[in-house]
Amino acid sequence: MTDSARPNAVEMRGIVKRFPGVVANDGITFAVRQGEIHALLGENGAGKSTLMNVLFGILSPDEGEIFVNGQPAQFHGPRDAVNAGLAMVHQHFMLVHRFTVAENVILGSEGSGIRLDRDSTEQRVSQLANEFGLRLDPKEVVENLPVGMQQRVEIVRALYQGGRTLILDEPTALLTPQEVDELYVILERLRSGGSTIIFITHKLREVAAISDRVTVIRRGKTVDTLNTADTTASQLAELMVGRKVSLQVDRPVGNPEGVLLEAKHLRLRGRGALDALDDLSLTVRAGEIVGICGVEGNGQTELVEAIAGLRKPDEGTIEIAGRDVTGKNPVDLRRAGLSYIPEDRHNRGLVLDFSLTENVMLGNIDERPFSRNGLVDYGEGEAVTEQCMKLYDVRAPGADTIARNLSGGNQQKLIIAREMYRDPSVVLAVQPTRGLDVGAIEFVHKQLVAQRDAGKAILVVSFELDEIIDLSDRILVLYQGRIVGEFASGTVDRATLGLLMGGRGLDEREPINAVA
């Protein structure tokens, strides 16, 4: 990497890209050396994706120049970029689910011949995969693969197309902690194989874990390019956000009181032979944050849906503040004191084409002051919405703004505002900071802690292990529909949790109970 005589793999100078009303890239300069892993760090909306779309020929820049391996390059489409040795691994995989691995890999470079030589393609795909330790069966149908494996298919495709410089757009967004670690290993192998990697992210941990250098961009401008080894997380956070950010959740010890949420012996049949929830019991007390960690697909969805009244458990009961609410519908549950911040902002938490006011009414429409005798009171709704916006710092031109036009952080703030407006006794928060940037994450965490201190019982379900560790007073590990571990805050480390999440350490020991 010290070989500075070699030309940069990619160099972008003074890139400007304007959209109606927005300058997404405002003179960005960005240089990646050959054979390095270079992180492109910035908050959501900083202009990372636009920059990469410009590099990959999807968008054409209004100003600026691009050089690939020292040669000026002008791409009129992704194909030109691929021909120049660039390859993109998209955040949302561009895969045909019903195709096999091999078929997906050759997609786009299948050639113009009529006959497809299946055997030799499969051989080449598996050769390429083995070279970098990717372990892929070329004959497997993609929809049967876990997410981490699907990503490998994308990586192999990038290599198959002759990509020497790989652009990975938020590659960890869908991965479990274990899969992330495996991805790091793959990336390091690729680097030793001579590939150059551009790693787009907004997560500081990833920058430190994998990159050689990092370029920070903020509001469409390059802030700085640094050697990762010379930086600290808080320095990077400050560069990214533009102000000092506290990375640690400021969380004095809680003072839990009576049980507000209790699930007893829940059982929910899954699709296969295993139960999605297998005799699961848990309690959350007033003034306590309980965090549930686990690898996706171990019963989180079912547990959340059972508590939120979207699915009736096959066995077991759920109580809120001592009242049996098993099988009640979401409206009754809200009246019983439950607030629910769903995982999926766009398809559950909000109606994107509704105004903010109409979204604040969601789930509350039959309650006063939002309606009276079946007639909606938009005036009152708007007043409440404006109050919510002020209290939770939702940045929007007004209550009549369409929710779709808000940034993810502001959308999430609106949902939290709505759910807290009801003054609930129990808060169910699922992946509450998914896809949010550092500033918004800080805000959401503070709000949850504040609600805890106000005496509410808070249940957080998240795939982000750090979030669970930072936020929870008590941590539960969910594995195959059961609670396989319970720890008080500060009595457990990442590694132990990771093992339990993977189902290991169970045969040797009984479920650990750190809190008696």
């Binding site: 959209f19 109606p20 009303g21 927005v22 997404a24 959501n44 909306g45 202009g47 994706s49 636009t50 955040q91 949302h92 997410v147 938020e170 967004a173 869908l174 697909g297 939120a308 979207l310 519908n329 979401p330 409206v331 009754d332 549950l333 629910y340 769903p342 902002r345 766009h346 398809n347 559950r348 938490g349 909000l350 109606v351 994107l352 084409d353 509704f354 105004s355 109409e358 969601l362 789930g363 429409i365 039959d366 309606s371 079946g374 007639l375 909606v376 938009y378 031109p397 007004g398 009549d400 703004t401 369409i402 779709r404 036009n405 808000l406 940034s407 993810g408 959308q411 998914r434 896809g435």
Partner: protein, 371 residues
């Protein structure tokens, strides 16, 4: 851009009106070329169209007569579409509504005008509503696609209609099998003429009132809020505890009710009987709803546009000798260009949105890969 940002509602309405107007102009321009190609004078043709639609009291009345079923049908489509239901069954629902309303009228129950007209309209509307609710129930219970079930129910409705006005004559005295129609509707059951010496009947007022009421229902009641929520996001509706099945069923009932009123208003207002022949208005209604952007007030204007084309086209044929096919092509061009511009605007808005520094929209995976 600025206007739209600060006066979201007003700006949107204004831009909709402007684009729709522009679309009609484009369609007329293309139509003019086609008319010219077929060796006719487009100026004469359009003069005849305008004359036919607006040239005097009688012409205007005829335009409004043609507008009436377009508005009611457009509303029927719109309310279903708001719940994300694609109602292709308006034609069948209007046949049922027309038949039932006309039968009540033909029975000559000897009621006073004030009672008889509303009764006949109500029966027609409710009959259409029930016919419309059937595909709603089917979808709610078993997930059957309303596109298929409404089309099938159309054929069923057509068969019922022909049976009732022919074979049923053996046991039913209210029909006239020779004419393939019901008997004449009793004068007291006829929708009154609201403009002297024209055919303009009170059905027009019903249509306008229906549009205003539907606007109120959709945008000012909790019921309308629930319809719109279900239509825009089934997931959010579920989250909010809004029952999907019963909401789409109610929306389909309302849709069928409006279609039924559309049929009843034709037979009770314009024709004086229910005839067993297809107007095809139930399918034009889809276009009216789309052009009106499924907004009740938009539908009034879209209905008016279609009414103008329909009444003006008669004059185009008669005075300028433009062929009937060209007139139909012109109508199709209007639909095409209005919907094309609408989708262009939608795309532009979406591009501006994605560009407006909110790529978080992509942060929510919709991959459906994991459980």
């Amino acid at each position: 851009m600025l206007l739209r940002k600060h006066f979201a509602g007003v700006g949107k309405l204004a831009s909709t009106v402007i684009t729709s107007f522009l679309a009609v102009l484009i369609a007329l321009a293309v139509g003019a070329i086609l008319i010219a190609i077929s060796n006719q004078n487009p100026v004469d043709a359009y003069r005849a169209l305008i004359d036919g639609a607006f040239g005097g009291r009688r012409a205007i009345a005829e335009t409004l007569v043609a507008t009436t079923p377009m508005i009611l049908g457009g509303l029927a489509f719109a309310v279903a579409a708001r719940a994300s239901m694609f109602n292709i069954g308006i034609e069948g629902q209007l046949v049922i509504g027309s038949l039932c309303g006309a039968l009540v009228g033909a029975a000559d129950l000897g009621l006073s005008k004030w009672l008889y007209v509303p009764l006949a309209m109500l029966v027609g509307g409710v009959a259409g509503g029930i016919w419309g609710a059937i595909p709603g129930v089917m979808k709610a219970k078993s997930g059957a696609s309303e596109v298929i079930s409404t089309i099938m129910l159309n054929y069923l409705a057509f068969r019922i209609s022909i049976y009732m006005v022919t074979s049923a004559g053996a046991w039913l005295s209210w029909v006239d099998p020779q004419l393939q129609a019901t008997k004449k509707i009793a004068p007291n059951a006829r929708l009154p003429i609201i403009l002297d010496r024209t055919r303009l009947h009170a059905g027009f007022l019903v249509a306008i009132a229906a549009a205003l009421i539907l606007w109120y229902v959709l945008f000012r009641t909790t019921f309308g809020y629930k319809i719109r929520t279900v239509g825009l996001s089934r997931g959010a509706a579920e989250y909010a505890g809004i029952a999907w099945g019963s909401t789409i069923t109610k929306a389909m009932f309302l849709s069928g009710l409006l279609a039924g009123l559309m049929g009843a208003s034709e037979s009770l207002g314009l024709l004086g009987r229910h005839y067993d022949n297809r107007s095809g208005y139930g399918f034009t209604a889809i276009a009216v709803g789309l052009v009106g952007r499924n907004h009740p007030i938009g539908v009034i204007f879209a209905g008016l546009l279609f009414g103008v084309l329909r009444s003006g086209s008669n004059a185009m044929q008669a005075q300028a000798g433009t062929s009937k096919e060209l007139v139909l092509i012109l109508q199709a061009l209007v639909i095409l260009s209005v919907s094309a511009l609408a989708s262009l605007e939608y795309l532009r808005e979406r591009r501006a949105r994605t560009a407006a520094a909110t790529p978080t929209a992509a942060a929510q995976p919709a991959t459906g890969v994991t459980a």
